[in-house]
Amino acid sequence: MRSLAARGVSVALGAIRALDDVSLEVRAGRATMLVGPNGAGKSTLIKVLLGLVRPDFASFELDGERVAIDNEWKARIGYLPEAVAFSENLTGQQLLRFFGRARGVTRAREQAVLDRVGLVAAGRRAIRGYSRGMRQRLGLGVAILSKPDLLVLDEPTSGLDQQGLSVLWSLLDEWRETERMVLVSTHDLALMERHVDEICVLQEGRVRAHGSSEDLRRAADLPHRIWFDIGESDDEASRTRVRLLCEAMEKWGRGRIERRDGRILVEVGSDDVLELVGIQAGFPGVVRGMRVEEPTLDVVYDRLLGAA
């Protein structure tokens, strides 16, 4: 499977338009992150893809061909619901046995999955004795059991400790490397950013922005912060060179310049960063070090949603 797309998805729940003409395409070898405030429609969109919510209108495509959401479609998807609470009396092994039977996978695969999510030692223990993170890892195990083409994860970072996060990151990497697809709904933008290729921002049931993190940063049009380390010097010649550099930057006129404790801070748009670096190169020996800060994805998100 190379791509899976939902087009023109519209869902009205009573008077509320949960989704309004939303389109989303997930491609092989790529992970897409769905973000948005509570009630934006993330979970509804996921549920539409899983056949759990019947849309008023939608069309679905598999490798460009129109399909219906049927059992064949569902067999290709592995799902981790948000805040899932498995039966407390079962052991991890027994839970995987049930889903293994349902998915038609071997016991060897079930054991391999337990190992993959780091629950071999706890496999024979009842779920009631599992920590929140262990339950979440077990849920991840259920989702990947049949090596689905599309992995759909709703708030996967919830409750995960560092070990759990490492498991999650390695799963996301594996799915991308093996040319499968991932769709993640999350509020942990900063945590997930490095592990996804595309971001779809939903707001009030509509797609507000869609693209790579760079695309979104560009769309948000927020300045990069460039820190030039110039040190403190009593040497008159050095102070003069620093003054001349500041004057050159001010004359350039593209960013906001500020001097702070032996550093120069310049806020410029992403397109102007290289030119600014070029200006400082004209004053050799003045700048001892440089750090470029991109706007964080949280800030970009706030800007895109109109909160900043």
């Binding site: 729940l13 549920k47 899983l50 056949g51 759990l52 919510v53 019947r54 059992n71 064949e72 569902k74 067999a75 998807i77 799902y79 619901p81 948000e82 805040a83 899932v84 609470a85 498995f86 039966s87 009396n89 079962l90 027994q94 049930f98 889903f99 039977r101 349902a102 998915r103 038609g104 259920v142």
Partner: protein
């Protein structure tokens, strides 16, 4: 037809009930209660089956529906509350299959509990009391399955497990306890104006009533019922079979329909 997911769910439902000792607890409780009733019959110097039979019927008509409703009330709503219903329905399975698999899986657990309970009571009883317990098995199972089906319906209609639990308690009180009292009230209110046929029809319209009348006929015989003023006999075997089928299939079918038609899970 049931697919792979349905079969796995059926097995899972049965295994989970047996694994958490639910079947064992109910079996022991039922066996002890049935045995106690048998003891009472043994002490009386009369036909044991004729004496203990009706007592066992009364016991079973109260105990088994309660057990069946408790067993089934969380089948769907419990999954919904744990957020696992979506996960279950995201598997390649038709929604009605989920209801059928859960119903059959839990029915097997109930059947095992009733069989072990009555079997235990038989093992503890003297041979003269065993015939009553044997005669009780199939109708008691049918009674349990009818209430299991009702519990599934309640579970599909509700959004919270506590609501489902409250409703099944009301259903149990209504059908197993107060239904006959209600009919008595109607008779008093109408000053006996209700015809015998209408009264009989209303009695057997309730699965607990149908069970009691059917079993009373077995243990006490039609002449005793006539002595008690019941002048019309039981409905025909075909009608009885239809009534049981309706109670077994009807609520479960509505439950499956409701889940299948639900737009948002």
């Amino acid at each position: 037809m049931m697919g792979r997911v349905g079969r796995a769910l059926l097995l899972h439902e049965f295994a989970e009930r047996t694994r958490d000792r639910w079947v064992l607890v109910i079996s022991v409780l039922f066996a002890l209660l049935a045995w106690s009733v048998g003891l009472y019959g043994r002490n009386a110097e009369t036909d044991v089956a004729r004496l203990t039979g009706p007592s066992l019927v009364t016991l079973a008509s109260l105990f088994v529906p309660l057990v069946a409703l408790v067993l089934s009330h969380d089948a769907i709503v419990g999954e919904r509350e744990r957020n696992t219903l979506g996960l279950l329905l995201s598997l390649p399975v038709r929604r009605y299959e989920v209801v059928v698999a859960k119903l059959v899986g839990r029915s097997l657990a109930l059947g095992l509990a009733v069989a072990l309970g009555l079997g235990g009571a038989m093992a503890l009883s003297e041979s003269s009391g065993r015939s009553a317990l044997v005669a009780l098995f199939v109708p008691t199972l049918l009674l349990g399955l009818a209430f299991l089906s009702l519990g599934m319906l309640v579970s599909s209609c509700t959004r919270r497990q506590v609501t489902a639990a409250s409703i099944v308690v009301v259903v149990w009180f209504g059908l197993a306890f107060f239904y006959d009292l209600g009919l008595l009230g109607v008779l008093v209110a109408t000053d006996g104006g209700l015809s015998q046929t209408a009264l009989s029809a209303l009695v057997v319209a309730n699965p607990a009533g149908l069970y009691r009348v059917e079993m009373m006929q077995v243990f006490a015989g039609p002449e005793v019922l006539a002595d008690l003023g019941v002048t019309t006999g039981l409905p025909s075997s075909a009608l009885v079979a239809s009534l049981w089928t309706a109670w077994l299939v009807g609520p479960a079918a509505i439950s499956a329909l409701l889940l299948s038609r639900r737009r948002v899970v």
